[in-house]
Point group: C2
Chain length 245, copies 2
């Protein structure tokens, strides 16, 4: 049976990707004054730069900013002005300083789940920026534990579950990213509540689910459905052989 | 009695500050081609920029790089070229990519301590960069737990000790920084082995020790002295009233 519920942070508890996409739009406007964006393939060049730098920077706004500077310099072949380089630094700082805005209804949903289960927050990204967001969310006290990891893969989830002495089958994760929140948990043998956000970073769109795992995931479209989805997964977890009887 | 030993990472297990200081020297050479460094007070301006940005960036090479870009643009009043801004980005990437070089004798010292006590690694800074260094150190398996925190203050140490169910008096920390490794632990009631590194970031030089805490700290000058220093602290911990009898 399910004994522990994990929540993702960015775009599950609070808005995040919108701030990154606004910064990307402003970045394209800056670089667009030097080159034809479509010809330069700026969007792909930036994503490629960010991905190449992930092994050095990890996730988060500081790494994004450094990748933007690198991509802008390369795409404009050095023609970009230092004033525009400086504006890109400022764009990054604005993403880091954005206010923490909870998704509508998420506070009530998290409180309702915390009434029945111990809950943990498992986020990835920049440690410092994530801690600021957790503190600003006003939800920190509801969580038994807050884990900020550099990559949300099966190994990271297995480590957290190990520290709680639980099997993956005792765990359900609630989040917006199939790649980071749902697929690795289900692959281990856990459960997932997938709540897509209205925009998703291209990097997070890569992974699909393996066939045969659908019954371990429920997709919902708003926070108010989280408690009911968990109750449905719990019923499946407690009667795993129903379908074969 | 002492039941758990904590180790700092940067400049305690592996060399770090030297890479930052090399990057600072290269940064000064770049900016020095635009302004008279002494007149511009570049060293102070950069430290001031880094400190102001700490609340947004936290510690680590990515934040340092962004602060360097900001300070260089301000100090040169925008006269810096975009090519030199790009060189500063590259300087930061070199710090992030530096190899992990252990201090001489530290492997043997950590192994010796791990033979007698459970040990934990408690480092601060950028989560991703720290994880890369821990992995590259070859020491990760010796540690019961690896905690990467955004600030090494009394609150962070109290939380880690709470998770182990220990009192501060059961804990000794080994590290190079009085501010981050020794003072907060001793203030809580723990013990410290202070092993100064040959260079220290100005920001870490701020804190002194409160009077009356000297007996809880032993200062050493090389890793080979760590086991003996811990044995001496253990003797003090087990006979706390000796001096008053």
């Amino acid at each position: 049976m399910i004994q522990l519920i994990g929540f993702d942070g960015d775009d599950t508890l609070w808005h995040s990707e919108g701030y990154y996409q606004s910064a990307h739009a402003a970045f394209e406007a800056i670089v667009g004054s030097y080159v034809d964006l479509a010809d330069a393939g700026l969007h792909d060049r930036l994503l490629e730069t960010e991905r190449r730098n992930l092994r050095l920077f990890g996730y988060g706004a500081k790494g994004m900013t450094l990748s933007m500077l690198e991509a802008a310099y390369a795409v404009t072949q050095g023609r970009i002005s230092s004033a525009d380089m400086h504006r890109i630094v400022e764009l990054g700082k604005e993403v880091m300083a954005h206010p923490v805005e909870l998704l509508p209804g998420i506070r009530e949903a998290v409180q309702a789940v915390a009434h029945h289960y111990p809950i943990v927050l498992i986020t990835k990204g920049d440690l410092f920026h994530q801690e600021i967001k957790v503190a600003g969310s006003g939800l920190a006290d509801l969580f038994r534990r807050i884990e900020i990891v550099s990559e949300k893969d099966a190994r990271a989830y297995a480590r957290v579950l190990g520290e709680f002495g639980l099997e993956p089958s005792n765990f359900a994760m609630v989040g917006n990213s199939v790649r980071s929140d749902i697929e690795p948990v289900v692959r281990l043998g856990g459960w997932g509540v997938h709540m897509p956000y209205h925009v998703t970073w291209a990097h997070e769109l890569e992974n699909g689910m393996e066939a045969g795992h659908e019954s371990r995931v429920i997709r919902i479209d708003s926070p108010s459905s989280i408690p009911k989805a968990l109750a449905a997964l719990q019923a499946r977890a407690q009667a795993p052989l129903t379908g074969r009887e």
